[in-house]
């Protein structure tokens, strides 16, 4: 089907050709490892003067009166308290962290940045603010500002990108490649990394998740807290089985204001208590996955 082309950028199908996973040459991980798990922590600073990205409480009689202080505070709880609970889990199970952070949050929460830098976490760009990329005035400037703030605070340029709410314009991958990004995680279309065409050099897409993601599960689908654990284990067991002959990647994505709430924290911990024991599973960052795939995977066309 020839869908009408956008004026700038590309259609998804023009960046990545269809490829059934069963037809690909097997991917091998180092040693006896068969799959990789990467865990992404999303840290944001919400602008109290704008409509908030998510809410837990609606106002009496509905509507969306501004400002929305209760839901702003509900999110801020994650930064003041919840994040520090998640950090205990990462420390306990020696999980290499991936900090997916808004540029503005880098400045707002220096204590969190310091804790992650000390632990050698990977920082990836998550927009300058928590606003849809389609609504950002100047996408390139937004991406540049985010890169600059992360580099300044951590001493390293971010190599990976995950858009706020995974949003992209038709042009986002082109801009990311031009701004020096090695990988993006917005495309939840596969269990393995895939090369994406851009108008300059190709960029790698790493498997992220809207399935094992606390925003989707807790805030949209309204599952009980233990379902986050149950689903992660079901997801893990299937991917582990599928990885017998060719390596696959599983992502787990959390937000401190959701899984960092006291009544949910133990279910997050229980995931790692169960899966961290597996000797043939690697716990990696996005950059480690990208570097491995560039070495052993197919070359970009």
């Amino acid at each position: 089907m020839n869908f009408p082309k956008p004026p700038v950028g590309m259609l998804p199908g023009d960046r990545v050709s269809y490829s059934p996973i069963v037809n690909r040459k097997p991917l091998k991980l180092p040693g006896k490892a068969r799959m990789v798990v990467w865990t992404i922590t999303n840290v944001e600073e919400w602008d109290p003067t704008q409509t908030l990205p998510r809410t837990v409480l609606t106002p009496p009689a509905g509507g969306s009166p501004m400002p929305d202080i209760p839901n702003w505070c509900w999110h801020e709880y994650g930064n003041r308290v919840g994040f520090w609970r998640l950090l205990q889990v990462y420390d306990e199970f020696k999980i290499p962290g991936v900090m997916n952070i808004n540029g503005v949050a880098v400045s707002a929460f220096p204590e969190m940045v310091k804790a992650c830098v000390e632990r050698k976490w990977e920082f990836i760009g998550h927009g300058y603010t928590q606003r849809n990329m389609q609504k950002v005035e100047n996408e390139r400037a937004d991406i540049k500002k985010c890169v600059g703030l992360i580099e300044k605070a951590t001493g390293k340029r971010p190599r990976g990108w995950l858009g706020p709410g995974l949003t992209e314009t038709w042009e986002t991958p082109d801009i990311l490649a031009e701004e020096g990004y090695d990988y993006v995680a917005d495309w939840v279309l596969d269990d393995q990394p895939v090369w994406m065409k851009t108008r300059s050099k190709p960029i790698l897409n790493i498997p992220y998740t809207q399935e094992c993601n606390d925003v989707a599960m807790m805030l949209i689908q309204h599952h009980k807290a233990n379902e986050f654990y149950e689903r992660a284990i079901d997801q893990f067991e299937q991917i582990y089985k599928d990885s017998k002959d060719s390596a696959r990647v599983m992502a787990i994505s959390v937000h401190p204001y959701i899984m960092g709430a006291p009544h949910r924290a133990k279910y997050f911990r229980a995931i790692f208590q169960k899966i961290r024991k597996k000797k043939d599973v690697l716990f990696w960052t996005g950059s480690q996955i990208a570097d491995w795939y560039k070495k052993v995977g197919p070359k970009a066309e």
């Binding site: 837990v56 501004m66 400002p67 709880y77 520090w84 707002a108 929460f109 009544h263 133990k266």
Partner: protein, 296 residues
């Protein structure tokens, strides 16, 4: 008038791990704070919450169905609460629209006579943004409650926790000492207002029957499960620093026959633990104000 402060100007970011632990008296380690919400839903206005969408999907006025849904709480559900808390010897914080003193004196008197703490919760139920004169409404609320209960309330919770940017300034001016609207921490904090400091107490929109039952549509027993998980975690952390576990309930939700047993079971569970204080907001405030240096 200058632009009102945004939240970050009222309170700097502060990581809980960077603060010295707060200590409760004696061997106490955690405060269990029960907040009961009694409201007035004016039949002349849209109802605050809806359970049953109108057949065409368009809400019509008057909304007798949801007026009745709420009224059940004031006729029946609240008496299940009174019985439970009398049996337990707990005196909760009553977050009440001041108008309950006029429309439901029987209920308001029962709460007053049982020694519950009266906390300001606006004159009637509706977002504070729609108040034409917020300062006057706050004063009216405080005055009515003071006259009725014989004591001016020290606490405030906005309807649905709603605030405009200037609300904390107006509340401090009206003599409010603490608010529950800022659910951004596990501990009490002090925020800036143009009329002096104001304390925030850790209220909850997690362990609260509105989001859990009416918005997220969980099974009735999930409030109990969530309360156990919430309490277990906070209790474990209270080995190192004082913790606070709030529970917010409404008579038209948790006072329903199919839900009340789960509420009762929450207290059975919590009371099996040592070192639990059932304090109201004013008791928490008094304790917090005596701490050497109020935490940020």
């Amino acid at each position: 008038m200058s632009t009102p402060m945004i939240p970050r100007e009222r309170a700097d970011y502060s990581a809980i791990v960077d603060r010295p632990p707060l200590k409760l008296p004696g061997k106490a380690r955690i405060v269990f704070w029960t907040i009961v919400n009694y409201e007035v839903w004016d039949i002349g206005k849209p109802m605050a919450r809806q359970l049953l969408p109108a057949p065409t999907g368009v809400p019509l006025m008057p909304d007798v169905v949801h007026w009745g849904f709420h009224e059940y709480g004031m006729r029946v559900g609240c008496w299940r609460f009174f019985e439970l808390f009398a049996k337990l010897g707990i005196k909760p914080t009553l977050s009440a629209n001041a108008r309950i003193c006029e429309d439901y004196p029987r209920v308001a008197e029962a709460a007053r006579d049982a020694g519950w703490e009266f906390m300001g919760h606006a004159y009637e139920q509706g977002p504070i943004h729609k108040e034409p004169d917020q300062a006057a409404m706050i004063k009216r609320t405080m005055d009515i409650m003071e006259k009725f209960a014989g004591k001016r309330p020290v606490g405030w919770l906005g309807p649905g926790l709603t605030q405009t940017l200037e609300t904390p300034d107006l509340l401090a001016a009206a003599g409010v000492k603490y608010i529950g609207d800022w659910v951004y921490d596990d501990e009490p904090t002090t925020i800036k207002t143009t009329n002096g400091p104001l304390v925030t107490l850790p209220y909850t929109i997690e362990l609260n029957d509105i989001p859990v039952m009416l918005i997220q549509h969980h099974n009735s027993d999930y409030l109990l499960k969530m309360a156990i998980d919430q309490f277990d975690r906070l209790y474990a952390e209270s080995a190192h620093r004082a913790k606070f576990c709030a529970l917010a309930i409404h008579p038209y939700i948790s006072g329903q026959p199919h839900r009340i047993k789960y509420l009762e079971a929450i207290y059975d569970y919590v009371n099996k633990h040592d070192g639990v204080l059932h304090w109201n907001g004013e008791q928490m405030l008094d304790w917090y104000n005596q701490q050497p240096k109020a935490a940020p």
